[in-house]
Every structure is written in C-alpha cells, then in structure tokens.
Subunit: 347 residues, 2 copies
C-alpha cells in the first residue's frame, strides 16, 4: 500500500467526514484545506489524522459546529475574540485575515483569542501570512492544561506552550515552530502507548528528579515535562512558558484565574508588515544573509548540513505537490477505519 | 570595606565620570540613573561597572557623545530609528517613551533600531514600562558579533541574542530576561580570565563536540557557545536566535547583509497596552493566578522555593532602597580606580 493521495482526494475525504460529523459545510471546507496543507508539509501528526479526534468532539458539542466568534474588543491594531470553541482552523483563518488587513493598515496588529478549539499545526497558519510578505507570530496555551512544572518546582502547572513565527525568507518562508517544554504531551502519550522510554531524561518525577520514564505523568503524585533547557538551564524554558501564558491568557482576559475545567485553546496572534518598518526588500535581504550563513555553516561531525527552520517543510511540500501526499500507515489505518464507520467513500 | 552607597552618590559618580569623559550632560544624567537602577536590582555586572568600559568608547568616538537619533520611518504604531551609536540607555529612554505613548494610542507599538551603543540591562528598561501597566518586550543583537553556531553547525555565526519581557504582575512586575544561548560572552570571558571551566558542557569545539572549556572561542578554528537546549535540543535555542535576528536586523533594515565590522547594538522594542486587549484588571488577575501557581509549587529536592522572574530583582531593589546600594569588591575596585584616574571625587 502506497498511501499516496492527491490533495483533492484527501481534502474531499476530510471535508466529507467533518460535514457528516455535523460541522457546517463552509467551516469543514476551511478545516479540510488546512489539514491537508499540513500533511503536504509532512506534519502528518496534525493533518487529516486529526479528523478521528475532531468527530467525537463535534458529536459531544465540545467543538461548536456552527456560528461565529464574538468580538470582545477591537481598537484597530488590537483585538480580543472569544472563539466559542469553534474549530480552530476556521477561527484562525478569520483571525489571520483580519490581522493581515490590520497590519497592512497599522503596520502591526495583535489578537488575543480565548476559547478556541484545536488550531492544529502553527506553521501551516504562520505560512499563510509569510507567503504574503508578512511576519506572523502565533502562540497558544490551554488554561486547563497542567503538564510542565515551573523551573525548580515539581507540580504540573503549565502547558508546553507552543509558539511559532513565519516570515518571508527569499526562496521560501522561514517557519520557526517550537515550544517551551523539551518534549510534548503527544510524544509522552506515544511513548506510554508503545511502552517505550525517552532517549534522554526529558521528564521529571514528582520529587523533581530527571527521568526518561513517560509514565510519571500518570503516577500519584504526578511527574512533569521538563522545560526547555532541562535541569541544566530550564529557567530559559520557564521564561518562554510564562511569556506565552501572558500573551495568550492575560491579554485575552481568560485563563488560569478562571480555572476552566474543559480543554480549550487560548491564542495570541501578531502580524507585522515589513513595509511599515525598514521595507520589504531590506527585510528579505537581511533574512537571506543570516539564512545563508546558517546553511553554509560547516556541519558538526556526523551531520550532513545545517538547516533553517522551514527548509524541510518546503522540500516536503514540493514533493507532495509533485508526487501526491504521503500518509504513514498508522494514520491511513485510523482515517480509513473512521471513514468506513461513518460510511464515507474512500479515495 | 562595606561598598554600600547611597543611590545619589553613585548617580553623581557615574554622571561625573561620563560627563568628564565627554558625554553631553543631559545624556550622562540618563545613563547614570539607569546604571544605578541596575545596581539597585542587584545586576552589578551591568550597572556602574560599565562606566570604565564606556569611557574609552567615548574617547575613541565609538560611542557618540552628543546629538540625537535619526527617525528612518514612522507610521504611528511602527518605527525604525538609526541610533547613530549614541549611548544605549539614552536612546532606549527616548524609544521607550515614544513606544509607551504610541501603545497608549494604538494599543501596541513596535520600534526597530539600528546602530545603538550598549543598552545595558534589559530588565531595567522593560521595568520602566511594566511599572506603568504596560507589556514591554526588548530584544537585541549585534550584527557584527559571531559567537553561537546554528544548531547542527560549528562556525560562530550569531550573537547570544538576549530578549526580555516585563509586564505588570500585581505586587511587582514580572521581569523575564534571558537569551538564546546557554551562557553569555561575558561569562566566557570571566572563565577565561580566571582560568576556570564551565560546570557543564555549554561550549562546542570547532568540530562540534561539547566541552566545558571556554578557551575554544580563541582556538583556530574557533569553537562556539551552545544554543539554549544544548546538544540535546538546541534547535529550540536556534529558533529563538533566528527570531531575535529577524526582529532586530531584518525589521530595522540593517544587519549581517551589511557585514558591519564594528560592534553595535540592533534593538527591537514592542510595547502593548493591556487596556487595548482584555483590560488592565483582567490582565493582572490572570498574571497573578499563574504566578501564584508557580510560587506555591512544591520545590524540587534541595531547593527552598520556586521563583517568578522579577521576584529576586524586587527583593534586591527594596533592600537597596532601604540599606543602600551594595557593589562587589571587584566592581568598586575598577570604578574607584577609574575615578582616581579621571580625577573625579569618590563618595
């Protein structure tokens, strides 16, 4: 089995599944398109493989299937939205369109959103703005999520707090996509499910001792995910985590102070227009210079070359567009089982 | 010798030294005030101890002693300034005042500055805005500086790229102040001068092997400082570094593409007004909730408690205001030697 598909077939499949699951058609269209773009970039953990997770959320009403967000505040360059737990891809498309418009007007714009549903792969989103010549920063947290301890502590308190930046880089955008903890909740779950350990001590047990054992998160009292920098210099990851909590929760006026009991995404989006700073050409010239210094860097022993974030995604996107979108066996097994269950035709 | 002084005496001393060194009096006043505030927060590496470094820079003309910056671009919410190598503390005071005004008007404002001289301790600067209820982000790089290799590479290419965020936090501001490399150039120099090694392998030799030896930076070919995350997950520090290079150089339209041969500071400053998002009260309520969860966190074995960035500075500031400003022997030795040489009276 090749598991290689045309983007149209996968879009159709995702859209049909989501529509049949109750999502309003115009929203299913947007979610499907962004999921498949994510698969095209090779991030198959966040592509069509998410549909089997979204369907029960739609069925239970945890993911709102129609309607729109509430504009809580709008000053022109700054905004607060309440996402009403609508599909994150759809909300983010609206938010990005708005922020890109505002950035073209004001030079920069920021939007803090409370109560979104899952927004998927951050690079898929930042890339939209970067392809249009803009700088786009996105950070997200879940104020009900508790996985990472503050540096020096032991109790799960913060989420991994991903953040991403996309910006024009000459041939293709730079796509930085990272987070404030060393590893992620899904990696922890993967290791628990497969009965394996981390290669490095990226977890902390409840007494604050580093460990490779992912199951510490299920112990009583539970262990935690280490912040970036680990035991050695984890105050740096802790700094990143607090920054993201502030941007996503304090600016949106909704967060841990409300002690929400259900999963939800808080998001901060910022778009800047290089034309409103030193100019688009100068911007790309400087980015290209730094990128060249990195790519031409003599690799460390055992490595073939140095990459700039976004290089891999660009290559995989080009190959997906030329040869079709490749899905891992495990993903296709789950997605096709889900389609059979929903009585939706497979490509 | 107690080395404890009144803030007025230290301000007078710094101002007299800088004025005698040729700096315009109104600028010397501002620089002196910010240096002493830095000492008051306990960051004595970046306080009055900088004066002996600034004086030769003034004498050589590397630090511009009078005049003002050039406004390259001003759209209201976004700006580019050319700092003309004026003292960074003075430039940053102007830049912060302007950004705070603009943030009150537009909700958020960003300023990219090229060619500043040394801007000192970032927390001293972000604290100014945070004390006024604003969120302030500052990042800085030196486009002539090459110390950190991109992750996977071996050649010195990037600066440590510090970034800081200050924001209101209830009792006192949160002051995050960190950088994209594990250690800093000054720590490397300190270890070289004292003939000591790092406790952990925070350096990389020219072949890309981790080492505790700081002298690799002087080898031929030279080694590098490891990005945050180290060999284990240094792609996260590399991401931070590229982010800061983009903000400070690409947005300001001046950077590595120009291959500047002299030391200089590029800066990106962003100020946001919580009132233009979810409101100032909601902002502080959310920050206070996260801070409480961190401070009340059960500490790891061997630690007494968990801190929030800014807690230490706040305590040291209070003690400096109550008992006077304490300087380490080494700092006072250098500063008093410098004063004697310049024939400036000591307190």
């Amino acid at each position: 089995m090749q598991n290689t598909f045309s983007r149209e077939d996968l879009c159709d499949l995702a859209r049909s599944l989501l529509t049949k699951g109750g999502l309003a058609p115009e929203k299913a269209e947007v979610v499907a398109e962004l999921l498949i773009r994510t698969d095209e970039m090779g991030v198959t953990t966040h592509g069509i493989s998410m549909v089997p997770y979204y369907l029960p959320e739609l069925a239970s009403g945890n993911m709102t299937s129609e309607g729109t967000h509430e504009v809580v505040r709008d000053t022109g360059a700054t905004m607060v939205w309440d996402g009403n737990y609508l599909p994150g891809h759809w909300l983010m498309t609206q938010a990005l369109d708005t922020c890109m418009d505002r950035a073209r007007t004001y030079g920069m714009a920021g939007l803090a959103m409370r109560r979104s549903h899952h927004i998927g792969c951050l690079s898929t989103l930042t890339r939209i703005a970067a392809e249009q010549g803009l700088v786009c920063y996105i950070a997200t947290s879940d104020p009900s999520g508790k996985w990472v301890a503050p540096y020096g502590g032991t109790e799960p308190t913060l989420t991994p707090n991903p953040w991403a930046v996309g910006y024009p880089g000459g041939e293709h955008p730079v796509l930085i996509d990272t987070c404030a903890s060393i590893t992620t909740v899904s990696k922890v779950r993967e290791h628990i499910n497969s009965g394996t350990r981390f290669e490095h001590p990226w977890m902390l047990d409840a007494r604050g001792r580093p460990t490779t054992d992912p199951t510490v998160v299920n112990a009583d009292p539970p262990g935690t995910l280490l912040p970036v920098g680990g035991i050695d210099h984890g105050h740096k990851g802790y700094a990143m985590a607090l920054h993201v909590e502030m941007q996503t929760q304090a600016l949106s006026g909704h967060g841990r102070a409300d002690a929400p009991s259900r999963w939800g995404g808080n998001v901060f989006i910022q778009v800047m227009d290089p034309e409103a700073f030193g100019g688009a050409d100068a911007f790309v010239e400087q980015v290209a210079a730094v990128n060249a210094l990195c790519r031409e860097n003599r690799p460390a022993e055992g490595l073939d070359r140095v990459r700039v974030p976004g290089d891999g995604a660009h290559a995989r996107l080009a190959s997906s567009r030329a040869e079709g979108v490749r899905l891992p066996d495990e993903v296709w097994r789950r997605v096709s089982a889900c389609a059979r269950e929903m009585d939706v035709a497979l490509p």
